[in-house]
Amino acid sequence: MTTANQLARAIERACHKVLEQRDTLNTLDAALGDGDSGLTAEKGAQALLEYLHQTPPENDLGQWLDGAGKVYSRAAPSTMGALVGVALRSAGQQAIGVTTLTMPLLAKMLLEADQSIQQRGRAKPGDKTIIDALHPAATAFAAAIERGETPSVAQHELLEAARQGRDHARTLRSQVGRAGWIGERTEGLLDPGTVLFVTMLEGVLEKPATIGSNHA
C-alpha cells in the first residue's frame, strides 16, 4: 500500500533521478531525434517537484495525479511530455477518491497508463518508443500481483521487464516520431523514451534512507 506521503516521496525520487539524467537523455535524443529529451524531461520534473511542493497529495490521490499530468504536459510540451502527462492523468482516473494505493490498483493504473499512451501516440509495441519499456513492465507487474507475489518480488519483476524492454527496443528500428524519419539508422541506438521510463521507475523503487520507506 502506498500512502499520500509515500507517493509524494516516490515522485520526488523519480524527478531527481530524471534531473540527473538530463544530459544523457539529450545525447541519446541527439542521435535519433532532436536532442531535447533531457531538456523537456527536466522541465517536466521541475514542474512536478513544484506541484508537489505547492499542492502535496492528500485525500484524493487520483485527483492529485490528474493534476500532476496536467502540470507535466503544460511544462514539457514535447511528444514525451504530452505522453507522460496523459499517462499520469489516465492512471489518476483509476484512483479518483482513493487515499491509499493498493498493489492491484497500482497494477491497474500502470496498465491504463500503457493503454492511454498507445492510444494517444498512435504507436504500438515494437515501434521503438517508451511503450517498449512500459508495456512489458505493466504486464509483468500485473501478472506477478495476479499470481500473488509479494510487493517486493512484483516490483523486481516490474523493473526487470522495463530494463529488458529498453534493451530489446535498442535493436529495433524507430517507426514513429522524429526518429521514424531515419528509421534504419536507429538500429542499435537506445530510445530516449525507454531510458526515461526506466529512470523514473528506478527513482520510484529506490529504497531511500528516510523513515517510512520500508513498507512501500
Binding site: 531538456l39 504530452a82 505522453l83 494517444r120 521514424g180 524519419w181
Partner: protein, 334 residues
C-alpha cells in the same frame, strides 16, 4: 553561438512581445499569454476558423500567416517545441465563430498529441474540429509512406488556399477538403548548408564540414538523404526539382506555383540563383509557373540553406491562390 538576444530562456517570449508591439493592428494575445496568437479581428462572423501551431524559431511560420484571408490564430510553442493543449484550446475558443475550426499544422509527434487533446476538449465544448496534417517533405519518407512525412514550407500554400476557401464562405467540410487537396498537390525538399543553434542549448543542432551540404535535411536539422560536397546552384536546383517532379502526380503542360524558401541565414541573392535554374528546368518540362515566391517563408533560426516547394495547380487551386490575402508578413494582391 552569436545571437542578438537577452536571456536564452526568454527568447521565444521576447520575439512574440516584439511582434505584438510592431503589429498591434493585426495580432493580439489571448488572455495575456503571448504564445496564444490571434488575429485582432477574430472571431470573424460566419467564417470557419483556421488555427495552426508549432514551435517558435521558424518565422514567418507559424503566426506570420495569421491575418486577412489566411489563418485566424496560432498556438506557438517555445523554440522548436509544441504548444500545450491548453494554449491550443485558448486560441480555439477565441477564434471560433460557430462554424467550426480547422487545425492545420505539421506532422510532428508533440504537436499531434497536443492538438488531438485540444480537439477532444473542443468537442466536449461543442466546437466542431477537423484536423489536416501537413506532410510535404519528400525527403522524410518514401511516397508509399507519405503519411509519415514531415511538414515543412509547403504548409504556407495550405494556409493560403484553405484561408481563401474559408474567407469565400466555405463550410468546415469544404475548407478541410481544400486543405487536403492543396497538400495532395504540394511537395517540398530542402538542402542545408549550416546548422542553427537553439538559444537555450548553445550547441548547433548538427554539424557540416566547410565544404559540405546535406540534401533533404529537416527544419530542425533532422538528417536528410544525402550528405556530400557542396554542389553548384544549378545542380542543387536540378536535384531538388527532379525529386519533387517524380513524386507529384504531374502531367506535361501542367501549371505550378513555386516557392524557393530560405532557411534563415541564406541571402535572397542565392535564392534567386536557385530560382533561375528551377524556372528554366520547368520550362524544359513544359510546366508553366503561375506564381513564384522567393524569400523566407519557413525558416529555422539561422540555419543556412533553402527549400523548394511545388504546388501543382488546377483552376480551383489557382483561383484560391490568387485570392487576396494580407498579414504583416505576407501579402497577395490581385
Amino acid at each position: 553561438m552569436k545571437k542578438i538576444m537577452n536571456r536564452p530562456e526568454a527568447f521565444a517570449k521576447e520575439v512574440l512581445e516584439g511582434i505584438y508591439l510592431a503589429h498591434p493592428r493585426w495580432l493580439e494575445p489571448v488572455d495575456n499569454d503571448p504564445f496564444c496568437v490571434v488575429s485582432a479581428n477574430a472571431p470573424i462572423e460566419q467564417k470557419v476558423a483556421i488555427i495552426t501551431g508549432g514551435g517558435s524559431g521558424h518565422l514567418p511560420v507559424f503566426l506570420g500567416y495569421v491575418g486577412q484571408g489566411m489563418l485566424d490564430g496560432c498556438a506557438a510553442g517555445d523554440v522548436f517545441q509544441s504548444p500545450t493543449s491548453e494554449q491550443i484550446m485558448a486560441v480555439t475558443r477565441r477564434v471560433h465563430a460557430g462554424r467550426g475550426v480547422l487545425y492545420l499544422y505539421g506532422n510532428y509527434g508533440g504537436d499531434i498529441m497536443n492538438f488531438d487533446m485540444a480537439a477532444e476538449t473542443a468537442a466536449d465544448e461543442g466546437i466542431q474540429i477537423r484536423t489536416v496534417l501537413v506532410q510535404d517533405d519528400v525527403a522524410s519518407a518514401p511516397n508509399e509512406r507519405a503519411q509519415r512525412r514531415r511538414g515543412v514550407a509547403g504548409m504556407v500554400f495550405a494556409f493560403k488556399l484553405a484561408g481563401a476557401s474559408a474567407e469565400l464562405g466555405g463550410d468546415l467540410e469544404e475548407v478541410t477538403r481544400v486543405a487536403q487537396k492543396t497538400l495532395e498537390n504540394t511537395r517540398t525538399m530542402g538542402v542545408g548548408l549550416a546548422p542553427c543553434t537553439l538559444p537555450a542549448a548553445g550547441q548547433p543542432t548538427f554539424t557540416l564540414e566547410d565544404n559540405e551540404m546535406e540534401l533533404g535535411i529537416g527544419i530542425h536539422g533532422e538528417r536528410g538523404v544525402r550528405r556530400g560536397q557542396i554542389e553548384p546552384a544549378d545542380q542543387i536546383a536540378e536535384a531538388l526539382l527532379q525529386t519533387l517532379l517524380a513524386d507529384l502526380p504531374i502531367k506535361a503542360k501542367a501549371r505550378v506555383a513555386v516557392m524557393v524558401n530560405g532557411l534563415g541565414a541564406t541571402p535572397l541573392e542565392e535564392l534567386y540563383i536557385l530560382y533561375r535554374r528551377v524556372h528554366a528546368l520547368l520550362g524544359e518540362h513544359q510546366i508553366e509557373v503561375h506564381r513564384a515566391l522567393v524569400g523566407e517563408y519557413a525558416t529555422s533560426l539561422e540555419m543556412a540553406g533553402a527549400s523548394l516547394t511545388l504546388l501543382l495547380l488546377d483552376d480551383e487551386l489557382t483561383r484560391l491562390l490568387d485570392h487576396p490575402a494580407q498579414t504583416p508578413f505576407f501579402t497577395v494582391t490581385t
